[in-house]
Structures are given as structure tokens and as C-alpha cells.
Subunit: 290 residues, 4 copies
Amino acid sequence: MKKHFIFLLGVVLTVTPVCAQRSAQSKVETKSLFSKVLNAERDYTIYLPKSYGTDTDRKYPILYLLHGMTDNSTQWYNRGHLKDVMDLLTASGEACEMIVVTPCAGGSIESGAWNGYFDMPGWKYETFFFTEFLPYIESAYRVIGNKQTRAVAGLSMGGGGSASYAQKHPELFSSVYAMSALMNIPAERAVPDKSAKDKRALLYLSVIENNCIAFVDKAGDALRDQLRSVAWFVDCGDDDYLLDRNIEFTQAMRRAGIPCEFRIRNGGHGWEYWNQALYICLPFVTRNFK
Amino acid sequence: MKKHFIFLLGVVLTVTPVCAQRSAQSKVETKSLFSKVLNAERDYTIYLPKSYGTDTDRKYPILYLLHGMTDNSTQWYNRGHLKDVMDLLTASGEACEMIVVTPCAGGSIESGAWNGYFDMPGWKYETFFFTEFLPYIESAYRVIGNKQTRAVAGLSMGGGGSASYAQKHPELFSSVYAMSALMNIPAERAVPDKSAKDKRALLYLSVIENNCIAFVDKAGDALRDQLRSVAWFVDCGDDDYLLDRNIEFTQAMRRAGIPCEFRIRNGGHGWEYWNQALYICLPFVTRNFK
Amino acid sequence: MKKHFIFLLGVVLTVTPVCAQRSAQSKVETKSLFSKVLNAERDYTIYLPKSYGTDTDRKYPILYLLHGMTDNSTQWYNRGHLKDVMDLLTASGEACEMIVVTPCAGGSIESGAWNGYFDMPGWKYETFFFTEFLPYIESAYRVIGNKQTRAVAGLSMGGGGSASYAQKHPELFSSVYAMSALMNIPAERAVPDKSAKDKRALLYLSVIENNCIAFVDKAGDALRDQLRSVAWFVDCGDDDYLLDRNIEFTQAMRRAGIPCEFRIRNGGHGWEYWNQALYICLPFVTRNFK
Amino acid sequence: MKKHFIFLLGVVLTVTPVCAQRSAQSKVETKSLFSKVLNAERDYTIYLPKSYGTDTDRKYPILYLLHGMTDNSTQWYNRGHLKDVMDLLTASGEACEMIVVTPCAGGSIESGAWNGYFDMPGWKYETFFFTEFLPYIESAYRVIGNKQTRAVAGLSMGGGGSASYAQKHPELFSSVYAMSALMNIPAERAVPDKSAKDKRALLYLSVIENNCIAFVDKAGDALRDQLRSVAWFVDCGDDDYLLDRNIEFTQAMRRAGIPCEFRIRNGGHGWEYWNQALYICLPFVTRNFK
């Protein structure tokens, strides 16, 4: 009797399923690929939805979810709790089952890691992303692989990266959700010398060069039309030091007549903000998958 | 010039304040005290609000925030992100500055840790809590120390614990916020033999003995009046396996004419639910501090 | 100069578009049809989305949105502000463009109006709904007209009506959203004599006869399978006098293994609750349109 | 039996209490006072909380809630549903019991009604507000009557009015919540000739003269200190044509080092936005009552 009770209680009071092998579960794993462009092994962390392991013929929409400066591919999963949020929102139907993947574009800049989503002298990350990473992921995993079912999002440096990637490739993404985005370097900062060679200065220069606000202002009619084929969402905290740059971006979008959702919620530049942003982001990209 | 730029950029692109010593910060630390009642050293984790280190004459309200089964005192801080949420909500004024403390009432039950908030044969945890832990905390830290400024909350086993503590001590707490609470052992489970000695069975028996639902039903008029002096909040996910017990508790409260807020939100028995619950809980306990 | 200024200010400070004829607007209108089944003219109020008047070949999904007891077809629009909410949510993409229609199933019962969604002696409203009203609406307006793009929702008496309609016709509806629903007559009430003839008693008897809770409990395996093809959502306030009946319904659904979202939010049986419910309901039915 | 049943059903299925005389209810009424300053009778609409009629010695906090252009004193109650929201939020404790009052500062400008919260040639409304209206209300009703328990809020023209009133009288208000506020006339508009005499031009000129953004920029250190004694909240929709002016206001506040909560939510310049704003506004002013 006692034994029987203990077994039952074990089932009741723990969340872990007793028979995991029978019950499909989503999973997160960190792997790597070798980049010829960068001449380096690069990590990525990937979320595979619940049915991925059992519906072995099914292909999925994909979200490229970019991390921030000095972060690496794992933080969206360790601190952003992407898996828990996705599992919750797919269970209630607010988000659809999708693959989410975060390539590593950072690490400790003090310890010598390259940071940034753009091409820099000696580190063509953007070229890597579009010619190696995206094609690799979409062949190694069962990804549908068209604009209608592909989205990009990110926080801070990755928020700027996601906006910029969608600006240059509106033919690839159906939606973009930029959080606390580094749309450009904050005003009133000293601009590094163009001959600077350290990685922080190179990152800084690449952000200026890929300034998302100027991009909109300079876009001609044909390009603006293409940008209208993407669903845009900008989300930034009222205490975020990047707020003004996000305001400027949405103002540029308004001037250009490109619809763009804009929200300012309570908070600054931090993980509680980004974890909560997922609850808005994942339904948003889902709605814009066709 | 380059050096100057790098310094400025360091300031801009990181969240860490340059002069931490000048800027007051909240902090979390895990310490321990020796319990004569339990004859054991017991950990606790405590959050001290931003002004605690600088306003050295000020006393604070306190929230006892209880953890769940097999958890220990740190999870509310590591996975629940209590510090980040408190800092955010105090900055916007939605919660007031308060001390939050979590005593350890668990750990791996498989590895022999006692779990539970009640008195059990050989482990009088409830006695420890009220005669040693609470008095210790309220003298070791600058706590106001009255009902008007004291609250209790918790998740799962700690949700049941918080409800039960407030039931037995309505004179001590102004409010209680019970999340996904183990108000009683789920129905249709085998009841352990009363002679059972293993720690899981003892926990189980203590939960039945301190059944929060029966407590309300049995309470006489005088006790019900006292229970009305506490503000009650029950919050449980629609996919939580403990939902029915939470429903039964709120129905008992209604039958007894004791006001009790009740919410069912999207989700199950997990950390995303509890992290989000903090955004409701902390303003709720704040409102009920006088 | 002055005139010029006044004209501009008029544009700036009012919400009304200057050139309404050029800008597509959603609209709400109340019309009627004659029912042979009821031998009476019956009103309905309908919302036609923004593009309805301009995309004249396009067909739309439809939501049947049922009103409560003693209400008529207009309250969802006058007090529920359906048009304002739909316009807001379609602008942000949270809801898709759809037709929403409310048939009149009520009015002042004291003044002799029939109330209720079911067949009663002398008033076969449910027959009218399925054999006359739905077919009429779906031919008179450009409705897609299949299960995948048809939903039903309602409040109180209409919440029970919507659940019951979807129970009997899972082949017709992709989703149902029941608010503060009269799933059955509240317990502990006197049951009217079966020979009662007044309209309130007839309504009461029809609700008992069409008891949504018993329906689930009695459903066999094949029917349960069909019920699983509908997405269910139950939403009821924590101070609603119908809460227990909604709890019982969701418990029956759980026993039957039919997934059903369940939320308890702050509030009672009133219009602020239902207006807010639209913000959850309209995205929910949208997600479940295929 | 039948009669008995009907009586019980009447109790069950309606929200109206059977014994209204025994159960305290909040109420809304529209009254008027004669203004010597304006030489006119002026309406106001007032909400008295639930306990007002029974706790006849109790004094209450007060919120001055200002309406928008061409509106009058009743719209916050008819379309904003102030009473329903207040009743809901006081029941759950999210807002405290308070008096809310809306003075009429508008009406159809085409039909000759004066609009605006400022002093204009021939219509010293601001003088009326501070020397007649506020003193009258706070003596005719049981108002506590100090800064700690007085707040001001409003929408559009009334959002600008509330911000401006708190700027000029930081000694009177503990908090201000400005919704979709006319902080200044939108940019790129023709400025009316200063000799203009029609009421729209006079309103326009008075808004420019009381420009809330310039006020902050011009404020000296002493005044900024006083402004910091008020809790500020700015809330504006992402599709509101006044958004940029609200952005400019919050940027000026940041430059001046005056804390100000800022939110951009989904929506434009309309009543769904303002009704929802009440759910944030009323807890905010409550928190800032001391």
C-alpha cells in the first residue's frame, strides 16, 4: 500500500512526465556549423516544436531570433525562457508550432569575441548569415522556407540586426519584431575613428553604416513598396536608453508611409522586458505567417 | 580620441552602472540561521530593496514568499526573477519597496531533504517558522513588523503553505497570494498509511491534516470574521493539475462569506506562470499594506 | 488666412475623415427578416468590415455573436462597442476582417418578448436560427459559409446559447467563445412546473433541457470526437453569479477529454467584462479560422 | 408554486439588487453651478463612490477628469463608462474609493460653445476652474482637499489641460494622467492670426500659449523641483495623430530630469483607448494618493 501511494504521489507532484518517450516534447539544443566566410565554427541554439520529432514529414515556419551584444546563442533560451513561452503559447493556440533559431553573433567582447550582425573588415557576419547560416538551417531542419513563413526578431543589437536584415531582404521575411533595438548608435556619442581596429569600434561603425533610420529615409518608392510587404513591430521600454532611436525609426516609417506597430511598455533594457515581449512577438509573427 | 570613444561606448552599451558604489541597488543574498526546533541549519534567501543600504533608519514592509516542493530558497530568485520584477515594479510605483524573504522548506526529497511547511513527526517546520524564523528575520533586518505591513505568498506547496499560515494567523498577515496552491492533496489519490515514515508520506499527511478547504468550512463565525481581515487572492492556471482544489477553496470562501479574489490565467504548473503571477502579486500585497 | 487656418484645424482636431466617400469604413446596421417558423419579423444587427463595400467580390468569415436575456440585437454594438473593438483589432492585425451578426432573441420579457435560443412550445427559435436565419445571412451577405470560417460566441443567455449551438452542430463552427455563460440554470433554484406557460418559465425550462454540462457528460465517444473539432473558450468573472456553472462545464469538458480554454478574470456579470472579453474573443476566433 | 418560481428567477437572472435601499451603490449625476468669472451656468458630472451615501462623515480623495474638444461633462460617464470601471476596480481594490468630477469645458464649437481649459479673451476658464469650480466642489462634497489626495487626468484637449494644470499648480495635485494629450497644437499647422476672434482660433491660440512642452523646457531648477513632487503619466496610442507631441513632452521631461511614466499602446484617438486607459489611470492615481 505504501509503495503504491508513493508511486502515485510521484506522478502527481512532479511536472516531469513519467513516460517521456511516449509524450512528444519540444526541445532546445545548441549545435554548431563551420563557416567558410568567417573561417570559424559558429554555435547556434535551436528550438524544435513538440510535434517535430513525431510528425516526421511536416515542415515548419521559422523565426530567426537574434541576441544582444556580449550575449551568445543560449541566452534567449536560458534567461528568455523561449521554450517555456513557446510551449505555453502553442498549447493555447496563440502561437503556431515553429522552429526558432538563434545564431551566435557575440560573446564577451572584452575577451576578444566578434559581436555584430553586419559585415565588418575581417568578419563578414551578414554574408555568413544569408549565404551560409540561413541556407544551412533550412536544409538541415524541416523548414518550409519561404517569405510567408519566415520571420526575424531580436533584442538590442539583435533588434537592430533584425530590422536591418528585413530592410535589406523584404523578400525573405513576412514580419520583424524589434525589441529595445539598436536602430542606430545613441546620439551625442563620440564616433570612433574610421581607422579604428578594435572589435567594439568596428561594431560601432557597422551599426552607423547600417543605420535603420537613415535606411528608411533614403528608400525610394519601389523599395518602400517592398518594405510594406513586411509586417513591422517596434517595442521599447519607457526607461530604455535606446528609446529615442526607436522613436526616430517609427517616425521615419510614418513619414515613409510604411505601417509599423509601435509599443512603449513599462521598463528598461533588461530581460524581464524581453521575456514579456515574447508574449507579444510570437503571436505577432504567427499572425503574419500565411 | 579612440580611447575616449571606447570609454563612452562602454558606458552606453552596457547596463551595469559605472559607479555602482554611488548608485543604490537592490540586492539578493542567501544566508542561514540555526534552528533549535529543527536542530538544523536552515538557508533563506532575501531581497533587500534599493534604498535599504542607504536609508539606514528606514523600516520596511515584508513579504514571505514560499517556494514549492523539491525547490529550495533560491528558485524564486534564480528562475522566478524576483529581483528583476521587484526592481521594475518599484521603479514604476506599482509595488512599494519591501523586503522579500524565502525560507528553505525543501530540497531534493529523493536525497533525503525534508519538504513542507507544517509540523510533522520529527520536523516541526511550522513551529520553526513562527517561533524562530519570522522573529529572527524581523529583528535581524529593518522590518516594520506588524500585520498591516506583512504579507505571505507562495507557489504550489508554498501556495498551500501561505494560505494555511494566514488561516492560522490572520492577526499576522494583511494579505495572502496563493499561486497554483496545494490547498489539499488532489482528489482520487491514495492516502498514505498513517504509520508511514518516509518524508514524502509525512509531507502528504501533513497537507491533508492542514487542508485549507476544510479549514474554511469548519471555521466558526468568530474565526470567519478574523479571516475577513486578510485580503485573499487565489491564482491558478487553467491547465494546472491542482486547479480543482483551488476552485474548491474559493467556493468554500464564498460559502463562508469571506471575500477572495480568484483568477484563472492561461497555463499550467510552471515557472512562466509564477513569474507572471509576481506582476499581480506584488501590486496586490502593496495595495494591502496600510 | 483665417479661413485657411480654420479649415486645417478642422482636419486636425476631429477624427471624422474629410473625404469619407473615398475612405472605406466598417459599418453597423440593424435590419430584419420575416421568419415563417416564428411567424414574426425578427431584427438582427450586423457589422460589415472595412473592405466589405469596396472589395465587392470578396467573401468573409462570420461570427454569430449572441446577446443576453432582455437584451436585443443592438446592445453588443451600443454598449459592447463591437465596431470600435473590431476596427482596432483588425487595424493591428489581431483579428481578421469578418462579418459579425447578432440576431434578436430577446427584449423585455416583462413586456411580453420571447427570450431564448432554444425551441420552446410556441416559439421554435433554434429551428429558426438554423433553418432560416443562418442560411439567410449567408446568402444575403458575402459569407464564405463553411465550418472553417464560422464561429459563435455570446454572453450570459447567449453564452449558453453559443455553447449549446456548437455542441449540437460541431460540423458548423470552428470555435465558440462563451462569456459569463448560462450553461445551466444556477443550482438551488426552484424548477418551474413543467406545465408553466409564461415566457420566463418556458425559457427556464428550455435552458434546463439544453443543459450544456449534462450534454458533455452524456456524449458518447463519437460525439466527443466531433466536439474536439471545435475550439472551445470559456470566460467568466470571479464575481459572476454564474461562475459555478461555468466551472462545472469546464470540469465536464476535462472529464470528457475535450480541450477547452478557461479563464477567470476580475469582475461580475456586466458590460465592462464583456467589452474586454472581445479583445480575447476576436483574436481567438480569428486564430481558429482556417 | 409557479409564482414562487418566478420571483426566484427574477432574483437570479437580473443584476439589479432586489433591495436597493439597503445596498449602497455608487452614483453619477450631472449638476451645475453659476460662475461669476464666466457669467454663465456651467454643468459638471460627478461620480460619488459606493460608501458616500452611507459613511456620512467620511471624506474622499478626488480626481478631476477632463473631457476632450466638443465633448461635454457627460461623455466620460456615457461612453467612457467611468462608473462601471470605478465600481469594478474599487471592488477588487485596484482603485480606492474616490470622487471623480468632470467640469464642462466644451460642447459643439460649431454651435457656439466655448471650448478649452485656459483663459481666453472673454472666457477665463482656467480662472473659473481654480477660483470657483475646485473650491465649490471641495466644499459642496466631502472632499479631503489636499495635494496628497487630489489628482487630475484627461483626454485629448483635457489631457493637455490636465498636464498644464499640474504644471502651474504642482502644489495642488499628487498625480496627473494625460491621455492622447493635446500637449501643443500639432506641428505643420497654420497658426491663426493673433487678432482672430472665433472660438476655435481662440482655443488654438490658448493651447499654443500654454504649450506643455515649452513649459518644461523653460522651467528653472526650483520649478523643476516642484514638478518632481507630482507623479506624471503620459499614455498615447501608436496611431494617434497627437503622438509626436506626446513624445516631445516626455523627451522634455527626460531632459529636465522629471520622472514621467510613458506608454504607447495599440490604438488611435478614440474611446476604446480612453476606456482602457481608465484601468491604468485609476490604479495610478490611487497609488499616488498618500
